[in-house]
């Protein structure tokens, strides 16, 4: 029994680790899309964040400077996106895709020029990685059944960015539903004309939204290269940006359902890892290929059968033009 319980805890722990970058990226997109700016460039921004975080952490030895650099790079790309599709009313999908392609090539090239190790940064020593948070009282609580192991396995020794992500989720819910800024943000994604009529700048609001998107994707990237991993390698985001977008749609552009969707994707991934090569009752050992299909099959099933209609913010993807 104990072993099963421990296995479940480890599974939950893995789910949280894998979900963290997805949650950050999905919430980043949530801000943008609720304000009417579609962001398909999450992948590229995360990758830029990951690269600059690892590069700066590697050359200065300070992961916090790395985190700042990652955020700065990602915000810069966000502003490019904003400039193209808020100021100049460009196509948001094209601009986002351009960012993805740009970074996919640029990051390895810069890495090659700076570190001469192919398209990678050097491996980071543990001092140049973002720390784990040790909670007090683990020894005291450990012997207590149920609570002890939960505290030890899940809450203790989590990365500092995981805690930050928890804060981001709560703060996002609060900002969107309880603050004036949140109300305006939602309004500008539904009916920018109404917001404009009320005398509030649509452009300013949308820029604020894409900057928040940039900050959060930068953190997500830094998590990949300096917290969960130890260094940048080419294409290390491996489609997580697109998965985060899927989670956002799956969660109908609302914070809690989006969080749930991210956790679900991460959970299927964590389960999938543990199912490999394990004989199951009745069916026996399932081939790796089938197991690795699971997350996608599950996604299709859920999207087709259980989610219902996902309605995007009305003005999402449409540039706001004052006079027609």
């Amino acid at each position: 029994m104990d072993e099963v319980f421990l296995a479940i805890l480890l599974l939950v722990d893995a789910t949280i680790r894998v979900a963290t970058p997805l949650v950050l990226a999905a919430f980043a997109a949530l801000y943008g899309e609720r304000a009417g700016v579609v962001d398909i460039g999450l992948e590229g921004k995360m990758l830029a964040g990951a690269f600059f975080a690892a590069a700066v952490a590697s050359s200065t030895g300070n992961p916090w400077l790395g985190l700042l650099a990652g955020i700065a790079a990602s915000v810069a790309l966000s502003l490019v996106h904003g400039f193209a599709c808020i100021t100049h009313n460009g196509n948001q999908v094209v601009s986002g895709m351009a960012i993805n392609i740009l970074v996919a090539g640029l990051a390895p090239t810069l890495a090659y020029a700076w570190f001469h190790q192919g398209g990678q940064t050097p491996l980071l020593p543990s001092s140049a990685r973002l720390p784990q948070v040790h909670l007090p009282g683990v020894e005291v609580l450990s012997p207590i059944p149920v609570i002890g192991p939960i505290y030890r396995e899940i809450f203790d020794d989590a990365n500092v960015l995981i805690w930050l992500t928890v804060l981001v989720v709560i703060a996002t819910h609060w900002v969107l539903t309880r603050t004036r800024f949140g109300l305006r943000l939602r309004a500008v994604g539904e009916s920018p004309a109404a917001v404009d009529t009320a005398g509030i700048s649509v452009t300013k609001l949308r820029y604020q939204a894409v900057i928040i998107t940039g900050v959060l994707t930068g953190v997500a990237g830094a998590y990949l290269s300096t917290a969960h991993g130890a260094g940048f390698v080419r294409d290390m985001t491996a489609g997580k940006g697109y998965l985060a977008l899927a989670a956002l749609i799956f969660g109908k552009w609302r914070p809690w359902p989006t969080l749930f969707a991210c956790l679900l994707f991460a959970f299927t991934d964590a389960v999938q890892v543990r199912l490999q090569g394990v004989p199951l009752p009745v069916v026996g050992v399932i081939p790796v290929q089938f197991i690795q299909m699971l997350p996608y099959v599950l996604t299709v099933l859920l999207l087709a059968g259980f989610v219902g209609k996902a309605v995007a913010p009305k003005a999402s993807g449409i540039p706001y033009v004052k006079e027609r």
Binding site: I101, G118, V233, D235, Q276, G277
Partner: protein, 330 residues
């Protein structure tokens, strides 16, 4: 879009490669290497090939051309480009290059090709495969002897027979020492992207540690770097692959299953230069020193004299043919 990317990368590579002038003198000797996905600094398979090419360059002063594959569609283009621009001998590193090598070598019958990790029988192709199971057998024995829990892990890259070869040898080595020893196995993926996903490698290793493994063998190219890192983070031991990876985390890597891709690439270029190059297929194992385990100052303290003795004995037996290590596909 892919094509534009490929062209861009090609032109970048051409700009970076020395001696890139298209008009080559016909008798000049120009070796070339096409690396596989993972990149030449993966500290593993491709880096071994890179080291071999570098050794040749150092000894002879002859520069070589190189190309790093980043997506599938580049393989053939890259190889054909090398051949067209007058490369004398092209080392194609990795089994994924087989189809491209097959096609391009027929188009350029006067260019010599060396294919590593797969069999290809053509008049201008030399192909080399390794008995990975023999080297893996030895590191499996070491893992079983060093393990305190009796459970050891294995993280493979792409799920292909070649990687299954590593696994099957590793399992036999573990069982040789501990009949009830358990090997927990994970494959990273089923596409070439599985060679370059350290985040996933780390996650797989962590799941194995959670299930009781305390040593993990990574046969997964650059993905393995994540596996070794996870082992360090968790206070466990990792086992490196292809290159000697003991130095990556000194004192935290039990040993490395060394595959002498460097020697193969070096020999290929050198023999082509000296004119002793021969086409045909070779299979190299412990006997030919094509595979082995790494012991140096970084892991000296982890391998006790008893362990070393046991492994050396097994090695001699395998070489003498007294001990058979079964491959994945007989």
């Amino acid at each position: 879009m892919k094509r534009i990317l490929a062209v861009l990368t090609l032109s970048v590579a051409a700009g970076a490669a020395p001696l890139a002038t298209p008009a080559q003198a016909a008798d000049e000797f120009v070796p070339a290497v096409v690396f596989d996905q993972g990149g030449k600094f993966d500290k593993s398979f491709n880096e071994a090939a890179y080291n071999g090419a570098e050794r040749f360059k150092k000894e002879t002063g002859i520069n070589y051309r190189e190309f790093e594959i980043t997506n599938e569609s580049q393989r053939e283009q890259a190889m054909r480009n090398m051949a067209r621009r007058g490369a004398s001998v092209i080392a194609a590193v990795g089994f994924s290059q087989t189809a491209a090598a097959d096609k391009v070598s027929r188009e350029f019958p006067n260019t010599k090709f060396c294919l590593i990790d797969d069999k290809l029988e053509l008049p201008n192709v030399q192909s080399v495969t390794f008995k990975e199971q023999e080297g893996s057998f030895l590191v499996g024995m070491l893992a079983a002897m060093a393990s305190k829990t009796g459970k050891v892990g294995f993280v493979g890259g792409m799920d292909i027979p070649l990687i299954r070869n590593f696994l099957t040898g590793y399992e036999q080595g573990v069982k040789q020492v501990k009949a009830d020893g358990e090997v927990i196995t994970n494959m990273t993926g089923t596409t070439p992207a599985a060679w370059n996903d350290p985040t996933r490698g780390a996650e797989l290793a962590k799941s194995q540690f959670g299930r009781g493994a305390d040593i993990v063998f990574a046969a997964a190219g650059a993905t393995g770097l994540g596996v070794l890192q996870a082992a360090v983070d968790a206070g466990k031991l990792g086992i490196g692959v292809d290159s000697n990876q003991n130095w990556v985390h000194p004192g935290k890597v039990l040993t490395s299953m060394v595959k002498r891709v460097d020697v193969t690439v070096y020999d290929c270029m050198k023999s082509a230069k000296e004119g002793s190059w021969k086409a045909g297929h070779r299979v190299v194992g412990l006997k030919e020193e094509g595979v082995g385990y790494a012991l140096d100052e970084n892991n000296r303290k982890l391998v006790t004299p008893d362990m070393e003795k046991a492994v050396e004995e097994a090695k001699q037996k395998i070489i003498a043919g007294q001990l058979q290590v079964k491959p994945y596909q007989p």
